[in-house]
């Protein structure tokens, strides 16, 4: 045995090591493959030996070979052997090999579970580290499930080196095993504040990665990240956080408002370009998210644009690139700010760097206007000519088309010019985008009627020169344009100048070399053209000529009949038969033109691409229901019916074609037209030209659109779009002069150029009238199409599984699978998670070092955690995190110090405008009031979220709360808003909120405009009572109304807030009031009024105030509270939901909950304590209350009774 080992050791001396292998490969450049296969044979021998060192060496070489592209999966088992070596050196080699070559299909991977678990718990941090690194590359769902708990334990390891790796790998675990996300999340969140910067960075990294995919689940972490952002100095972390905020702001504009200031500061202060850049990016994201609400951030936009310009002008190409990239984001919402830098961007088009040119191109898209479109496209066309390499040229091509066609051709004033551009683009050889050009030609020709004549003339020229286009290879993508050209010439053949000539061009033998689908279109349109020529000839009584055309068809069509393409063949045979039939009839002297043209009567209208999808399913139709019950699965029937069905279908398809004869077709068409005519949703066109020429004899009656053109229409080669640019300029100049003249005459004449729907052209744009009076035919949509625009998410997205609500408390079932002996650890903590157990262990050594500090941090952490739980509340308080008052831990009677020094008077009209509101809110010291208000604002919007928050507020008091297992019973959405008054113009709903200062209550009224008029000059007047008075602007008398600080366009709702001062709060109050407003519509303005009664319930004087159980106990002991109780029977709702309701509607918070019994606390705006003991029996609830004021208590209880009675 010993001898064998020594022998192995000696053998090893002669083995190649990695360096030898590399050297060998370098020396065998000619026969590398052969050399490597030799080496692999050697390696196979080495792997057979018992000596682990030899094996490790072999595996090390294999890893290298894998990197060169050799499959080493056959050695998977040997790799596992090396992984399980006891020495770190070998282990590392093994894990590296595994990370390179293992994947989910590797079957031996399941053998590694125990080895990895052993390594994870190894006393050596590097063993653990190397296992984590390896695992991060090859983790499978099984491994993730089995090891999730072990890794989670490591997240609290004493060594930061392990912690950071464990934190980071959790992302991979989540991806593979999404169930682990919720149980692990609390600890992950904790790691955001890990003392080690590396761990912290890892945690930020993971959460950012998670949040990027499902941002809404991570909104509640915003306060924590905000704190990190203002405290961290690690640029890497900062960048990640700022990027994350960029993803969060679109979901929560209030967050954006909060961010602007610190980000702006960072932009001004940082010297790191990377950080500056990300700040600018996020500010842009914020501005985008705010752009709808408040346009008042021009300073920020200016700052961004200005910084970006500096980047773009920098000589560093990287900065230039990034500058352009960010600029394109601003462009979407603030095009004007970018447009002023057009010079700079056009300059970038000339850059030698393709990446930069592409970016600049992207920007151009948003910068065009009617004014500069031609100029920009001209510039692009010169680039197209210059461009080397098809990729960039193709990119240019698509961009030109994108730019021109954007928002329904909004910027095109001259479609002749555009057609010329398209025709010029057909000169590009080898482009992949022929179909794009074709699609544009078709679209324009169909939708812009006035341009058809011109388009047809251009297309016929194109067909004439088809050899130029289709000359090169069969694969040449540009020949796609012939598809469009033929179709246009065929469909709009009445505009052709020399139809006979075009017909001949379309029947050339060369055509048969085109791709099948294009030939098919040729064949089809040849007939259309033929029909139209026939018509002309017959009307002109040129029988011979008509027969000659027929003969031409009969002569030429057979070349298509021989086509290998079935489609072409089928159409050609059909048509050939038809033409032969026509020929017979012609020989007999029967007029046929009428009937042949009837084949193509009627007009094709563009249909919106989504039209089919939007057809609503009629009521009562279940598309998923079986029409016939599915046949039973018995084997004998399995195949037969299928085959039968299939056959049938084929037969039908075959029969259908010949059955439909011309007359039938015409009849159907007529019927369809009738139907369309009666359909009010159908966009009717003026009687189609095709139809018209049927009844009017002579060619000269073909409608001709007058185009004032000095360019000869028949350019022998191809038209030059440049000429249009010049012409257009002249035309515009003329127009301007004319307009000026007209303006002098009639100042306030209606604005011109309002031909397109929806778009709001800039002022300068509006001045430019289109060259032709162009009507863009809108795309048809089915009547009563649903306006929904939802884009189905990709069901295969791996990140979908991670779309998990993280704020919901953990259920008992949600535990990570644990190895048996670990179970004990979990039992201890009845609350949310099993977090603290291991945590404590790991923190012990540190505590010794700096016990004091640790404690403080712990304390702070607690506060922070609680704060983080209520995002809305955070969002509504002051931004600088240092200044965020931390009242949460204070018990109810000591929260005076929460009021910052700069406390200001209660804001009167917060809703006046966005900024004011913002500032006012920031100054507000009383957070709980705010919290609830915000909560309620949120209510109608997001049911789920608000529910979550309610549960959150319940937990707010901290440790004493015993949630127990939560019943997962859905609670209907709750709203504190109730109807105030309503008439045909306006609906008012309101909610009352108490504030802990000055005995004031805030009434939030949502005003919703139900009418078609604009409501303005709204004014709210209330008859003050002795007890309750409305706060009015200074200097106004008690009889004055308070103006509502906004107007309401039709269908819009907005919220206004009014403050009332209350003397006594022990009784409910009612106030009468009137809302007066002016309703203005096209017909005129009327003065309207709406009376209402504001009801101040006693509960609305209560504010949610957290209270600790010890403080609560003291309060009850003090004995100076009066008592009262109620009892409500017949309650079926779960206790949890019941409590939630009480918390929500009556502003209580749960102090403690044991089984079906809970103590609750609230405080009135005048400082009355209200304590409740809620007990739930079988189906009844009893509430015992204690309060410093007996009247208040009995009133509150009465109100509560009403609420509970509805449960």
């Amino acid at each position: 045995m010993a001898l064998k080992m020594v022998k192995g050791s000696i053998d090893r001396m002669f083995d190649k090591n990695l360096q030898d292998l590399v050297r060998g490969i370098r020396n065998h450049k000619e026969d590398e493959a052969k050399y490597i296969s030799q080496c692999i044979d050697e390696i196979k021998q080495e792997l057979k030996q018992d000596n682990i060192a030899v094996k490790a060496n072999a595996v090390c070489k294999l890893t290298y070979l894998q990197m060169l592209g050799y499959d080493i999966s056959w050695a998977a088992f040997n790799i596992i052997e090396v992984m399980s070596a006891s020495k770190f050196t070998f282990k590392r080699i093994g894990y590296l090999a595994a990370s390179q070559s293992f994947h989910e299909g590797t079957d031996v991977i399941m053998l590694t579970t125990n080895q990895i678990r052993k390594d994870l718990s190894s006393p050596s941090q590097y063993d653990t580290g190397v296992a984590l690194t390896g695992l991060s590359c090859f983790v499978t769902p099984d491994l993730a499930r089995d090891l999730a708990n072990d890794i989670m334990t490591l997240m609290s390891h004493t060594k930061p080196y392990i912690r950071k790796k464990a934190v980071l790998i959790m992302y991979k675990v989540f991806l593979k095993y999404p169930e682990s996300l919720r149980p692990a999340f609390p600890r992950l969140k904790e790691k955001l504040e890990d003392p080690d910067p590396g761990v912290q960075s890892a945690a930020v990294n993971v959460i950012c990665e998670l949040a990027r995919r499902n941002p809404k689940n991570y909104l509640s972490l915003a306060p924590l990240f905000f704190k990190l952002m203002t405290s961290s100095t690690n640029n890497w972390v900062l960048i990640k956080i700022i990027k994350l905020f960029g993803a969060l702001t679109p979901l929560e504009p209030r967050l954006g408002k909060k961010l602007i200031e610190p980000l702006t500061n960072l932009i001004h202060s940082t010297s790191a370009m990377s950080l500056l850049y990300e700040c600018v990016n996020t500010v842009i994201a914020v501005l985008i998210s705010l752009s709808s609400g408040m346009p008042n951030h021009s300073a920020s936009i200016q700052l961004c644009v200005q910084k970006l310009r500096i980047l773009i002008e920098d000589s560093d190409q990287n900065l230039k690139y990034l500058g352009l990239l960010a600029m394109s984001k601003i462009l979407k919402t603030h095009p004007k700010s970018v447009q002023s830098h057009k010079d700079l961007i056009l300059q970038c088009l000339d850059d030698k760097d393709e990446s930069i040119r592409l970016r600049a191109l992207d920007l151009l898209y948003g910068m065009v206007s009617k004014k500069n479109l031609m100029e920009i496209v001209k510039k692009l066309m010169t680039h197209v000519d210059k461009a080397e390499g098809t990729t960039y040229r193709d990119e240019l091509l698509t961009k030109i088309i994108d730019i021109c066609s954007q928002s329904n051709y909004q910027h095109i004033t001259n479609f002749e010019w555009y057609i010329s551009i398209l025709v010029e683009l057909t000169r590009l050889e080898g482009t992949r985008h022929g179909h794009l050009i074709a699609a544009q030609m078709l679209d324009v020709a169909i939708r812009v009627k006035a341009i058809r004549k011109f388009a047809v003339s251009q297309m016929s020229t194109l067909l004439d020169n088809a050899h130029l286009v289709a000359s090169s290879t069969q694969r040449n993508g540009i020949c796609e344009v012939l598809y469009a050209a033929t179709w246009i010439c065929g469909e709009f053949s009445e505009h052709l100048q020399e139809p006979q000539h075009t017909l001949e061009a379309m029947l050339r033998p060369k055509v048969t070399t085109l791709p099948g689908h294009i030939q098919a279109v040729y064949v089809q349109n040849v007939v259309k053209l033929y029909a139209s020529i026939l018509q002309q000839k017959e009307q002109a009584a040129e029988t011979e000529a008509a027969q000659a055309v027929t003969q031409l068809m009969v002569d030429r069509l057979p070349q298509f009949v021989q086509s290998a393409d079935l489609e072409v063949q089928e159409r050609a045979s059909c048509i050939l038969q038809l033409v032969k039939h026509v020929q017979k009839l012609q020989a007999k002297g029967v007029p046929v033109a009428e009937e042949v043209s009837a084949l193509f009567a009627g007009e094709l209208n563009p249909v919106a691409p989504k039209a089919q999808k939007k057809v609503p399913v009629p009521e009562g139709l279940d598309l998923d229901a079986w029409i016939n019950e599915p046949l039973s699965d018995s084997e004998s029937e399995d195949e037969k019916p299928k085959a039968m069905f299939h056959e049938e279908e084929q037969r039908q398809a075959k029969h259908r074609l010949p059955e439909v004869d011309e007359e039938e077709l015409a009849r159907r068409r007529e019927a369809r037209k009738q139907e369309q005519a009666n359909n009010p949703f159908y966009i009717k066109s003026s009687p189609s030209p095709q139809k018209r020429y049927q009844d009017s004899p002579g060619v000269e009656h073909i409608p001709v659109v007058q185009i004032d053109l000095s360019v000869p229409l028949k350019v022998p080669g191809l038209p030059l779009s440049d000429q249009y640019v010049r012409l257009e300029e002249e035309r515009r100049h003329r127009q301007r002069l004319e307009k000026d003249k007209r303006r002098k005459k009639r100042r306030d004449k209606e604005k011109k150029g309002k031909r397109r729907h929806g778009s709001l052209p800039t002022e300068s744009d509006e001045d430019i009238a289109p060259a032709q009076q162009v009507d863009i035919v809108t795309e048809e949509m089915p009547e009563n199409a649903l306006p929904s625009d939802e884009d189905d998410k990709d069901p295969n997205d791996p990140y979908r599984a991670l779309d998990i609500d993280l704020d919901k408390p953990l259920a008992d079932s949600e535990k990570l699978p644990v190895q048996k002996h670990r179970n004990a650890e979990n039992a201890k903590s009845p609350e949310k998670e099993d977090v603290p157990v291991v945590e404590k262990k790991s923190k012990k050594p540190k505590k010794k070092e700096k016990k004091h500090k640790e404690k403080e941090r712990d304390k702070e952490k607690k506060k922070e955690k609680k704060k983080g739980e209520d995002l809305d509340f955070w969002l509504s308080t002051t931004p600088p995190p240092a200044a965020v008052p931390s009242t949460d831990t204070l018990s109810a009677n000591t929260n005076t110090d929460a009021t910052p020094k700069d406390e200001v008077e209660e804001p009167r009209r917060e809703a006046q405008d966005g900024e004011d509101e913002d500032q006012d809110q920031e100054k507000k010291p009383s957070k709980h009031k705010k919290k609830h208000k915000k909560e309620k604002e949120e209510q109608p919007k997001d049911k789920k979220r608000s529910r979550k928050k309610l549960l959150g507020s319940e937990e707010a008091p901290g440790e004493p709360v015993q949630n127990g297992a939560l019943e997962e019973e859905p609670l209907p959405p709750m709203s504190s808003y109730c109807l105030l008054a309503k008439n045909s113009y306006i609906k008012m709903t309101y909610s009352v909120q108490g504030s802990l200062q000055d005995s004031q209550v805030t009434v939030s009224i949502i005003l919703e405009n139900l009418s078609g008029s604009v409501l303005k000059s709204m004014e709210l007047s209330v008859l003050d009572s002795l007890n309750t008075r409305m706060a009015r602007p200074e200097g106004s008398s008690v009889h004055d109304g308070v103006p509502v600080p906004f107007q309401l366009p039709p269908g819009v709702s907005n919220e206004a807030q009014f403050v009332f001062t209350v003397q006594s709060i022990v009784m409910a109050q009612k106030l009468k009031g009137t809302l007066s407003f002016i309703a203005k519509d096209d017909a005129g303005a009327t003065h309207e009024k709406l009376d209402f009664k504001l009801h101040f319930s006693c509960s609305s004087y209560l504010t949610t105030t957290p209270c600790y159980s010890d403080a609560f106990a003291k309060l009850l002991e003090s004995g100076d509270l009066s008592m009262s109780s109620i009892r409500v029977d017949g309650i079926s709702m779960s206790f949890q939901n019941l409590l939630t309701k009480i918390c929500f509607h009556h502003h209580f918070s749960v102090v403690e909950r044991v089984d079906s019994c809970a103590s609750m606390y609230s405080r009135s705006i005048q400082g009355h304590h209200v304590c409740l003991l809620v007990k739930k029996g079988e189906n009844s609830v009893s509430v015992d209350g204690k309060c410093s004021d007996s009247t208040l208590l009995s009133n509150v209880l009465e109100e509560m009774k009403a609420t509970l009675a509805m449960c």
Binding site: M5, V6, G8, S9, L18, Q19, V22, D50, N51, I52, A53, T63, Y64, M67, L68, G69, Y70, D71, A85, K87, F88, T89, F90, I93, L96, Q100, F102, H103, E104, Y126, T133, S136, C137, V139, Y161, K164, K165, L168, I169, K172, P197, G198, N205, V206, E209, N235, W236, I239, M273, S274, Y277, Q317, N318, Y321, L322, K352, D353, E354, S355, I356
Partner: protein, 157 residues
């Protein structure tokens, strides 16, 4: 996330698994894309079709005969990754004591071990050079001590 790392023409490291053939193809194409770029152009390339679609970018740095290429998605900061490459190169320089191309060619395993301390499973793990060097040194020390034991007659098994 980081998807790919590459220094040499023919070998690279991917943080996701695909067949060896595709891997080679990706690496070759990436190298081709990067190597044909002029000096003084920006260090970003929109990879597009290469790996995983348009969200990904190639970010590279060129040192003498070597290209350090990262393929990253939009969650990473472009300039940040450029800095990361710089950190990586400096770390290599420290660990190999004046690194040269041949060092990297002959010690690919070491390069990988260093990279593993910076990027783990496609996520950036550590950006602090001193921290990386400390960990690498400690591991090397551990390895040396093992080699010493290992050369004594006692065998691993």
């Amino acid at each position: 996330k980081v998807q790919l790392f590459l220094i040499f023409k023919n070998s690279g490291f991917l943080w996701f698994r695909i067949s060896e053939d595709t891997q080679q193809q990706i690496i070759r194409e990436t190298f081709h894309l990067v190597s044909k770029r002029d000096e003084n152009v920006c260090n970003f390339l929109e990879g597009g079709l290469l790996i995983g679609g348009s969200d990904n970018k190639l970010i590279y740095r060129h040192y003498a005969t070597l290209y350090f290429v990262f393929c990253v998605d939009s969650s990473e900061s472009e300039l940040g990754i450029l800095d990361l490459i710089q950190v990586f190169v400096e770390t290599l320089d420290k660990c190999f004591e004046n690194v040269c191309e041949l060092d990297l060619i002959f010690h690919v395993d070491k390069v990988h071990n260093i990279l593993a301390e910076m990027v783990m499973g496609g996520m950036v793990l550590e950006t602090n050079m001193n921290e990386i060097v400390t960990q690498i040194d400690a591991q090397n020390k551990l390895e040396k001590s093992e080699t010493f034991i290992f050369q004594s007659p006692r065998q691993d098994r």
